[in-house]
Symmetry: C2
Subunit: 370 residues, 2 copies
C-alpha cells in the first residue's frame, strides 16, 4: 500500500501565501484543500473539522473529539501541529474565534459549506471573509515531481481498467451492469475511491455527463467510457476512450477521426508559456473546420490533482499561461443528440518543453465484438 503523497512544507507555504493575499488566517474545512495541506481525508459530516492556517502563527486543527484518533492516524497526525478536540456540546466556532482574536480578514475554503461559513461569520463578526482559494490556488496548480509521479501512477491505474474493457462492454448487458463491473475494476486496479463511471452507449453518448442507465448495449453501438478514481496516494485519474460493439456507422467513423485529430492538435499546442485558452482553441478549430463546431458543446479540459476538476481550466477566456507541472485533461467531444457521441481524453502534464501524456492506451476507436 503506497501512502498518501503529502509534504509538510505545504503548511508554511500556505501561511506565506495567506499573508501575501492580505489574509490573516485561512479556515480550511474538509475537502480538497484540507487533503492537500495535511493529507487528512476527513468524512464530510456535520460536525466541524477545520484546519486554521495563521499567517503569522502556528497552524492548528480542530476536530470533533470522537474523530481525533482518526486525525492522528492520518498523515495530519505526523505534522506536529496542535490538534484540538471539541466535545459534542461545545461550540467549535467560538473555540476557533477565541484563538484568533485579532483577525480582520479570513480566507474560507472555497468548498466550505454555507452553514459553516455563516457560523464562522457569527462567531467572528469583525472578520471579513473571502475565498482561501485566492491564496491556495497558486500553490496547488503547479504539481511537484512527487505529485506528477502520483498522477502518473493514477493514469496507469485507469489505463489498466480501459485495457480490460472488452470484459465489461458486451451486447445484452445494461450500461448499469457494465458500469458496476467497471467500478469494481477501478478499485481492483489501484484506486481507493471510484469518482465517476460514465458508460454512454448509443444515444446516451451524446449526453456528456450521462453516467449509466438501464439501456441495454446493442451491436453497432458506439460507447463513451469516461472513468476516474482516487488512488491511495490521494491523486485522481480521469480518462475517456471510445469503444464500438462491432463496426460503427460511417458518419460516426467520419467525425471520430475529426475528433482524434482535434485531440492531437490540442496536445501539440499545449506546453510551457502557452495560454490555456489557446489549447481549447486548437481543438475547436479542427472540429469547426470539419463542420462540427456546434457539436462540441463544452470546454476542452480541466486541471486535476487531489481533485478531479481544479485549475487550470482549458476554456475560452482563460489567459493563464501554462507552466511546467500544471496537469489537466485534454478532452474534446462531438455530440449528435438522439444518435451518438464521442470524446477522447488524456491527462497531460506540462514539461520543460511540451507535455507528457499520462494516459497512453490506444486513442483510436476500439472495436469490440458486436
Amino acid at each position: 500500500m503506497t501512502g498518501r503523497v503529502t509534504d509538510p512544507d505545504r503548511l508554511s507555504q500556505a501561511a506565506k501565501a495567506a499573508g501575501a493575499a492580505d489574509l490573516d488566517a485561512l479556515l480550511v474545512t474538509p475537502g480538497p484543500d484540507l487533503r492537500w495541506l495535511t493529507g487528512y481525508d476527513a468524512l464530510p459530516l456535520e460536525r466541524l473539522t477545520a484546519l486554521v492556517v495563521d499567517a503569522s502563527g502556528a497552524p492548528f486543527l480542530v476536530a470533533p473529539r470522537l474523530e481525533v484518533p482518526a486525525v492522528m492516524a492520518s498523515p495530519a497526525g505526523g505534522l506536529g501541529i496542535e490538534v484540538l478536540g471539541w466535545e459534542e456540546t461545545e461550540d467549535p466556532y467560538s473555540l476557533i474565534a477565541s484563538r484568533l482574536p485579532a483577525v480582520r480578514r479570513v480566507g474560507v475554503a472555497d468548498r466550505m459549506w454555507a452553514e459553516q461559513l455563516m457560523r464562522f461569520r457569527a462567531a467572528m463578526p469583525g472578520a471579513e471573509q473571502s475565498l482561501a482559494g485566492a491564496a491556495l490556488r497558486d500553490l496547488r496548480v503547479r504539481k511537484s515531481p512527487a505529485e506528477v509521479d502520483a498522477l502518473r501512477r493514477a493514469g496507469q491505474a485507469i489505463d489498466r481498467v480501459h485495457r480490460r474493457m472488452a470484459q465489461f462492454l458486451q451486447p445484452g448487458r445494461t450500461e448499469r451492469e457494465a458500469g458496476a463491473e467497471i467500478a469494481r475494476a477501478i478499485l481492483d486496479e489501484g484506486h481507493v475511491r471510484v469518482d465517476f463511471v460514465i458508460v454512454g452507449s448509443g444515444p446516451n453518448g451524446a449526453s456528456p455527463h450521462h453516467e449509466v442507465s438501464d439501456r441495454v448495449l446493442e451491436p453497432g453501438d458506439p460507447v463513451v467510457v469516461d472513468i476516474g478514481g482516487t488512488t491511495a496516494e490521494g491523486y485522481c485519474s480521469d480518462c475517456t476512450r471510445m469503444y464500438c460493439l462491432g463496426e460503427p456507422e460511417t458518419d460516426f467513423r467520419t467525425y471520430f477521426l475529426v475528433l482524434l485529430e482535434a485531440q492531437q492538435a490540442a496536445c501539440a499546442q499545449a506546453g510551457p508559456g502557452v495560454s490555456a485558452e489557446s489549447v481549447d482553441a486548437a481543438a475547436r478549430a479542427v472540429i469547426a473546420e470539419a463542420g462540427y463546431g456546434g457539436a462540441f458543446i463544452h470546454r476542452t479540459g480541466h486541471g486535476i490533482g487531489v481533485e478531479s476538476h481544479e485549475d487550470p481550466y482549458i476554456v475560452a477566456g482563460n489567459e493563464t499561461l501554462l507552466e511546467p507541472g500544471m496537469a489537466f485533461s485534454i478532452e474534446p467531444g462531438i455530440y449528435q443528440p438522439g444518435r451518438h457521441g464521442a470524446r477522447i481524453e488524456d491527462i497531460v502534464v506540462v514539461t520543460g518543453d511540451g507535455i507528457e501524456r499520462l494516459n497512453v492506451t490506444d486513442r483510436d476507436l476500439v472495436v469490440l465484438e458486436g
Copy 2:
C-alpha cells in the same frame, strides 16, 4: 430497479415554506436538498447547477448545457419545471440574478460551497443571504409513508450485509481487505452507493470514526462494524453491530452488556412527544450508572433520510419534541482507548405510539470463529 422516491408536491411545499420564513427565493445547489426536492443527484462539480425556488413564482433549474440531458433523464425532468442550460463561457450567476430582480432575501442551501455563495452575493448585491435549511428542515424532518418505506428497505439491505459478516471478518485478513468485501456486499445487497465502511478491530474499535486500516484481524478481537449506503430510491442506511473473533475478554463482555441495555433504554424512551435530548439522556444514564460515563464520548444519534446525518440530532441540548415520521439512529458507544470499543446502532422511526426499529438483526455480540 426501484426508482427514486420523490414527490412533485415538495417544490410547492418549499415555496410556501420559503415565504413563511420571509425568504423571497431559495437557491439550491447539488446536495441533499436538491435530491430531496427534485430527485436529481447532480455530480458535485465546479460548473453551477442550481434549483431556484421562487416563493411567489415558478421554480426553475439552471444547469450547464452539457448536463441538461442528465437533468432531463433524472426525476427532475418529469417535474414540468423550466430547465435553463448555460454555455461554457456564460455566467450562470448573472443569469439567475436577472430572473430574480426584486429579491431582498434569499435562502442558500446549507451545503452550498463558499465559492458559489460568494458569486451569488456578487451577482445579487441587494439580496441578503441566509440559510435555506431554516425553511427546508421542517419539511424534510418528518418522513412521509413513502419515505419510511424507502428507509425500511434501506435498513433491510444493510441488515442483509450484516448477516453475511462471517464471510468477511476472518483472522489473518486486514481491516482494509474485509472492508473492500463489505463495500461490494453493500452494493450487491441493494445500494447504489457506499457511504462509509468502518471496521474497527481491537484497539481501532476505540476510535468511533475509524474507517479501515492495514491492521490484521486477530483471534479474540472485538470488531465494530458500522456501515451504510444509499439505495436507488435515494435513501440511506446506517447500522452498527459488534462481532468478536472467538470469545472476548471478560471486561469487554461486561461493558458490552451495559451498552446493550443502554441502547434498549434509549429505544424505550423514544416516541412521539418526547424530547430528542431525553433519548440521549436515557442511554447515557445507563452507561454512567455502570461507571462508564466518561467512555461514551459522542451523542446518541442523528437523523437520516436522503442524507446519512441530518436533523433531528439526539444530543443534550436538543429540546425538539419527536413526532411521527422522524427517523434517526440510536447508537450509544463505550470506548476504551488502546484496548477496544463497542457501539450498537439501529435506525428507528417514530410511530403514533412509540418507534419502529428499521434494523432487526440480533443486537447481541456475534461471536465468529476466531
